[in-house]
């Protein structure tokens, strides 16, 4: 078991004949993802690495029964590609594209809320259930099958964290990059709910950054609802206010969206906090030891350990 994706995911790639889309579609196939087709308008009827290419998502859905779409469409057309996937009834949409105008995402966000589709991203590395399905651009080989969930706004910082876990022999159930844009399809809390309910996840790593309220809200939700240990890290302690740090959403614009404010809230809410990006793996190991040995585990108030 895992969350959202696994052996039963039937995946199509929107933008499969493009350079990025094609490269990563092949990488996903090599990892063992059940990739059943692709969509590029005007290229229907062609084949890509043995799978059919369709003109529309609806055609692909009808012919292949796909339930996941991975989107590599360029920014100017990406919002429309998502709307098409929603219209076709795709259950899970994973949008990798970086640089979609915010006003386009406002419309996509509204369409998602009125649908049964869920979107991961945009501007994210995607989602992976190790050993089963890699739906994104992350390097598959650093992952190891196991029982820790990972949720993150970042790409390479997530690889860093996953690598630390695998080196400590701590495998992962599912790892999700939710993206660093101001508007994203799925936030931390939705995924924490799924991990909390997943019998094969023992703990969750939550990696955030400066800007917005998502981490603060997630910490409060964890305090009130989560029985499994959560390990938190926030990037951007040294980021100056008012500057956009690479990700469109990574900007300190109030006083309570700084790394320090978010970390303080995490500690207050009983999360295990990793103080540096190099100590994420060690903090997870410690959290797992604390929770497996109940004598050391004195409830949320004593849970927060700092490295």
């Amino acid at each position: 078991m895992s969350i959202l994706v696994g052996d039963d995911s039937k995946v199509i790639v929107q933008g499969i004949t493009g350079k990025e889309g094609g490269f990563h579609a092949k990488q996903c196939m090599e990892y063992g993802t059940n990739l059943v087709g692709g969509v590029t308008p005007g290229k229907g009827g062609q084949e890509f690495e043995g799978v059919p290419v369709f003109d529309t998502v609806a055609q692909a859905r009808l012919a292949t029964g796909c339930n996941v779409s991975l989107i590599f469409v360029p920014p100017a057309f990406a919002a429309d590609a998502v709307l098409e996937a929603i219209e076709a009834g795709i259950e899970l949409i994973v949008t990798i594209t970086e640089g979609i105008p915010v006003n386009d995402m406002v419309k996509v966000n509204s369409a998602l809320k009125n649908s049964d589709s869920r979107m991961i991203g945009p501007n994210c590395p995607g989602i992976i259930t190790p050993g089963e399905a890699k739906i994104g651009i992350m390097p598959g080989f650093i992952h190891q099958k196991g029982r820790v969930g990972v949720i993150s706004k970042s790409g390479t910082l997530t690889y860093e964290a996953v690598n630390q876990l695998s080196e400590l022999n701590i495998g992962q159930s599912t790892c999700i990059g939710i993206g660093g844009d101001p508007i994203i399809g799925t936030g931390y809390i939705d995924l924490l709910k799924l991990f909390e309910a997943d019998a094969d996840t023992d703990a969750v790593v939550l990696i955030g950054e400066i800007g917005g309220q998502l981490e603060t809200d997630a910490a409060k939700w964890i305090r009130d609802n989560m029985t499994k240990p959560v390990i938190g890290f926030i990037a951007g302690k040294t980021a100056p206010p008012g500057r956009r740090m690479g990700h469109a959403g990574a900007i300190v614009s109030g006083g309570d969206d700084t790394a320090d404010a978010k970390l303080a809230m995490m500690k207050k809410c009983g999360l295990f906090v990793a103080e540096t990006p190099a100590s994420i793996g060690k903090t997870v190991k410690h959290a797992l030891e604390c929770t497996s040995d109940k004598s050391k585990f004195g409830g949320p108030a004593e849970l927060s350990m700092v490295y």
Binding site: F23, Q27, P75, A76, G99, I100, P101, V102, N103, M105, V106, K107, N109, S110, I137, M138, P139, F141, I142, S152, K153, S154, G155, T156, L157, T158, Y159, E160, N163, G180, P182, I183, I207, E209, I210, G212, Q213, F233, A235, G236, K237, T238, A239, P240, G242, R243, M245, G246, H247, A248, G249, A250, G254, A259, E275, T276, P277, A278, S279
Partner: protein, 387 residues
């Protein structure tokens, strides 16, 4: 992207929003002539820089006579204007906006931005204009009226009624003017792909006229491909020269004031690397995301930037190779070292795809590089060199 007040007002004018009569100039000798063209004797001399808080810093002055106006212009033009948003060195004033004076009865606030919680465009109004809106929001949250706009319907009549009620416009004529103001401002926000519009203050005069007395507009960088005409508003003078140079190289770089230059792939890891440099006793000189292709040219360009920053005493390269192969990055570093004549200590940490081959390549190349095995080791080693 930020644009100047006078540019923002040009956009408002296109949308039939009333702005004070005004002229832009970069010459003190023009000032008297321009003031004479204003409909009022009273004039306002306003420094045009991108930062807020200009008034408190002495960049906005009222003049009753031509001589006074010229004197203010002399004082302001060319000054290093320091505000809470510029940093201690300030920003040089290169242009002035000369505007008519106003007989102000009340100052309001009206803004449009994205509400990240709901993912909707939000219009924010307040009766407490002319002040720092964050402060109003923190101290008297009941004085802030917010309406979230459903993108399917656009700004509705009921949205506007809520703002009118909250901002206590009882005069029918003012209600009508304000309604037009809101609709036009929402259209500007959507049409021009703004990420922020602030009218602070929006004023009502003794003659019951409504004006946008000040205006700040930020544009969503992701929308440049369809906002080509907005790019003419870009002012390179307002940017840090090194950041501009990095931008021309296609590097995502932000200058800070520390002593360790860092080059990282990915924004999150770049921030994490800055943080760990600080945690180990150094201080990051910059944020730099080299992206997915850390080849010799990009590495060499990054070195150029570091060499021009006199504060930089050491460099840390931290690459997590996923799709990007570490041996290619290592080759890029070696090639760049040969052309750049780098004299600063360089710590390199490469992890992920082909990291072992990369390490071997660096060792056998003969270039002077301090290899690090992991993130902690890298931070420790680079900070040791600057102690």
């Amino acid at each position: 992207m930020k644009i100047h007040e006078y540019q923002a007002k040009e956009i408002l004018k296109e949308y039939d929003i009333q702005i004070p009569v005004g002229f832009v100039t970069d010459k003190v000798s023009d000032v008297k002539k321009l003031v004479k063209k204003l409909p009022t004797k009273l004039s306002v001399i306003k420094a045009q820089i991108h930062a807020g808080g200009r008034g408190k810093g002495g960049g906005v002055k009222l003049a009753k006579t031509l001589q006074e106006a010229e004197q203010h212009a002399k004082d302001i033009l060319g000054m290093q204007l320091v505000t809470h948003q510029t940093g201690p060195e300030g920003q040089k004033v290169r242009k002035l906006l000369i505007e008519q004076g106003m007989d102000i009865e009340h100052e309001y606030y009206l803004g449009v931005t994205l509400d990240r919680d709901s993912g909707k465009i939000t219009m924010i109004g307040s009766t407490e204009g002319g002040m720092d809106i964050e402060k109003v929001s923190a101290e008297t949250p009941d004085k802030i009226i917010k309406v979230r706009v459903d993108p399917a319907n656009g700004l509705t009549a009921s949205n506007i009624r809520k703002l009118i009620a909250g901002m206590e416009f009882t005069d029918k004529d003012l209600q009508k003017k304000f309604s037009h103001f809101c609709k036009a401002l929402y259209n500007v926000y959507v049409d021009k792909d703004c990420s922020l519009i602030e009218i602070n203050p929006l004023v009502v005069t003794a003659q019951k006229e409504m004006f946008a007395l000040d205006c700040k507009i930020n544009i969503d960088d992701s929308a440049f491909y369809r906002q080509k005409e907005i790019l003419k508003y870009h002012d390179a003078n307002e940017e840090e020269p090194l950041e501009l140079e990095a931008q021309n190289y296609g590097l995502n770089y932000i200058k800070l004031d520390g002593n360790v230059g860092c080059m990282v792939n990915g924004a999150g890891l770049a921030m994490g690397t800055m943080d760990i440099i600080k945690a180990y006793g150094g201080s990051p000189a910059n944020f730099l995301d080299v992206g997915g292709t850390a080849d010799a040219t990009r590495v060499a360009n990054a070195f150029k930037i570091f060499q021009k920053d006199k504060n930089v005493k050491a460099i840390l390269i931290n690459i997590f190779g996923g799709i990007v192969r570490c041996d290619r990055v290592a080759q890029g570093v070696v090639d760049a070292m040969k052309t750049s004549k780098l004299e600063l200590p360089l710590v390199v940490r490469l992890a992920g795809t082909n990291a072992i081959e990369a390490k071997k390549l660096l060792e056998e190349s003969g270039v002077s590089v301090i290899a690090a095995s992991n993130l902690e080791d890298a931070a420790q080693k680079v900070c040791d060199t600057v102690k």
